[in-house]
Amino acid sequence: MKRRQFLASVAAAALFTGMAGNAAFAETPADTLVIARVIDDAISFDPAESYEDTGTEVLHNVYETLVGNDASDMSKMTGLIAESWTFSDGNKTATFKLRSGQTFASGNPLTANDVVYSFTRVVKAGKSPAFLLKQFGWTAENVDTMVKAVDDQTFEMKIGVDYAPSLVLNILSSVNASVVDSKTVMANEKDGDFGLAYLKDKSEGSGPFVMKTWKPNQTIVLQSNAAYRQGEPAMKRVILRHVPESASQRLLLEKGDVDIAVNLPGDQIKALEANPDIAVQRNNTARNLYLGLSQTVEPFTKPKVREALKYLVDYKGMTESLLKGEFTVLQSFWPAGFNASLDENPYTYDVEKAKALLAEAGLKDGFSFKLSVRNVSPAIDIAQAVQQSMSAAGIKMDIVQTDQKQFITAYRGRQFEAVLGTWEPDFADPHANAATFALNPDNGPDAGSKTVAWRNSWKDDAINALTQAAVKEPDEAKRTEMYKDLQRKVMADGPYVGLVQRIRQTAMRANVKDYTVGPATVYYRLVRK
């Protein structure tokens, strides 16, 4: 017995020593960027199918679009695959001249035929992102006649709707309009699936990186593309590790096992700021949070009541003490830091003013209503803060917590009184949000597009007309002014209490440099260590 015990402990000790030597502090290699991140939203890395945050960030690094944001000045649009472009025929035709000598990572040359194939397959595959390009009046039936390769270096597309050129370019800069290597993808099509199965977990693009592996809920590995047109990136490998728990992310970052931790809440960020080995970077995201007030519910139909509620949120207190830098105040529907943002937040927490407005509306004793909220943080915390500040004017707000999918089902089905909603635009153009917060041409139950305005049963013909006019306005400066005007009007009278905009707080090892964040992505190619 004794001898056996001894042998067992010797074996255990040997095992531990072996592992301890192995687990000693391991800094990530100098040419490898390791990012701890939640990646479980990804379902595909095909530009024709991917529509989630992780997919968007990765795809921008492995593919290129015709045009895109200028990494040195995000407010500017610059040519990526395209060198120049012209709009003609009353802005119904766009012609793109491609840079010469471009190749895909596979070595195949990139020509206008690849652009034609890429756009066609997005529309014909009919997955979630298809609507982006269908906005141009393209359908699975007509798209073949709408896009064409004039020659190897010239791509031409017809636009079946009245869209301003700046809007067209903004849509084309979204990741779903990426150009794929048609030769390789076509060779791997199966049963007319446009290569959807093939491109699910690998890339065939011309971007700075190539996607090597994707293990769902584990890792994504990108390898640098030596043939990238602007030169091979400094980071030879970029690895995204799925770390669902934020405390684990922080631990990995502090130990140096990862270079960057993406999903840390405000208190963890605060704690890390004291650490000299860690730097924190803040960037605006386009995600907003707002209260939606259903216009089928009394007394939300009264303009004075809507206005009163806008004075009953403690915007400053909420962002400073509760949300700890994770959010900033945003009362208009288009986020700050993006072209045509309004950057005006006229409402403050003013109980007396709200009381006066309620009295004018004949509700001096307040009223009660139900607020539907997704049962996740920080939505619940925000709802509770609003509940408290509204009670000061005698308004009794009941919080109804539901599961995320249940919440969306009810919201899309108009089954609510008020909601705490959130939105992220599909492309970097104010129309992306105007089209949902302002536009509601058909308020009937079977409307073809269930916009946020529709869900809140809010139809304002003047607002609709203004939104439609802004879409078409060819003069860019004038168009920007139109969106600012639209935002002011919706903010003043719309059924929304704009609350906050999300700030992305990224913690990284101090040696990580030039971590450059764009509207929908991070430019891994610019990162140095």
Binding site: A20, N22, S128, N217, L251, L252, D403
Partner: protein
């Protein structure tokens, strides 16, 4: 006396009977899960396409999911597919559910197996010692250990263990299954990293994988140890109050023989049941442990599936868990037959 051949046929006959009950159980399982999926106030189409999709995409997916057909038709067509091993495609991973389960289950199996080994190898002796020293300090110590295993939140304990052994002492590797430097070095064969590493003869990968596993496995081990030790203690106390124990003691048998030979032998059938039950619970996937340790196992997968209202994945996972319990039950049955002469 029973010949081994006769035993074998008895087992076979009973197995045939249980095969039918297994099939019925599985159909029942599918029915309940399917019904729950249809009763919850979540639109299965919205669950797939998300909040923003336009109406034409909605209508297309509605048809694709077969929701335009009567519910009973949907159910039978689903059962038919499952019978052919087709669990459909998961909405949130975009992969066939079978493929997803084949990738997450080995990770859980690996962790659960080490966990249950810790639980059994420590839990049974501790339970026996506690019973033999009932009321004394050994018993109290085991009680405290069991209570800790029961009541300290796994989530908190996991973080604390990580902070100490990974953050401060550097004895073990951090969250995840393997260090990046070792990732993808050995060919995937069973999906169980330690086994694949041994098969490839790559000891570096093996030690690294083991180093990643030791904390979460200990955590799981502690919770099953708590259960196993307490149950073993109570089974043993029952046995030790029996007359045959008094007889053995009266005959002058050493206390060690009385406890480990006589009493434990008679308690072993119950202890086996408890051990298999614990193993079953661990194989369901420990959601919190898997979250803290970024362990891509079944628990995390099922949680994601539930939050995404991904019915195919939920049913697939439920059936897998059901099947695991059924198999473990059958295994336990077989082991009883050998452990307990009366059932043979």
């Amino acid at each position: 006396m029973h010949s081994p051949a006769k035993r074998f046929y008895t087992v076979l006959r009973l197995s045939m009977g249980s095969a039918i009950s297994v099939a019925l159980t599985l159909v029942g399982l599918i029915f309940v899960t399917f019904a729950v999926g249809r009763l919850i106030p979540i639109d299965p189409v919205v669950a797939v396409i998300g909040e923003k999709a336009p109406q034409d995409v909605y209508d297309k997916v509605y048809k694709e999911l077969g929701l335009d057909r009567p519910v009973y038709e949907q159910f039978f067509s689903y059962v038919g597919k499952v019978a052919h091993g087709d669990f459909g495609t998961s909405a949130f991973t975009g992969h066939p559910v079978v493929q997803d389960l084949a990738s997450v289950f080995p990770a859980t199996l690996e962790l659960a197996t080490i966990g249950i080994l810790i639980g059994v190898l420590l839990g049974v002796p501790l339970g026996v010692i506690a019973a033999a020293n009932s009321g004394r300090w050994q018993d109290q110590l085991v009680r405290v250990l069991s209570l800790t295993g029961y009541s300290v939140p796994v989530f908190w304990l996991g973080i604390v263990l990580l902070l100490i052994f990974y953050g401060q002492l550097d004895w073990v590797a951090g969250p995840g299954r393997i260090d990046i430097a070792y990732d993808g070095l050995v060919e995937e064969w069973s999906g169980i990293l330690t086994i694949d590493a041994l098969r490839a003869g790559d000891m570096d990968v093996f030690y690294n994988a083991l180093s990643h596993m030791i904390l979460p496995a200990m955590l799981l081990g502690l919770s099953s140890l708590a259960y196993i030790a307490r149950m073993t203690r109570s089974f043993m106390l029952t046995q030790l109050s029996q007359e045959y124990v008094t007889l053995a003691r009266a005959k002058g048998a050493p206390e060690r023989t009385v406890i480990w030979r006589h009493a434990l032998k008679n308690a072993r059938v119950q202890i086996i049941t408890v051990c298999f039950l614990s193993y079953g619970f661990l194989l369901e996937g420990a959601v919190l442990t898997e979250t803290v340790f970024s362990w891509p196992g079944l628990g995390l997968y099922m949680t994601n599936a539930l939050f995404n209202a991904d019915l195919n994945a939920v049913i697939g996972g439920t059936i897998l868990i059901g099947a695991v319990f059924i198999i473990l039950n059958a295994l336990a049955d077989i082991i009883y037959r050998f452990a307990d002469p009366r059932t043979a």
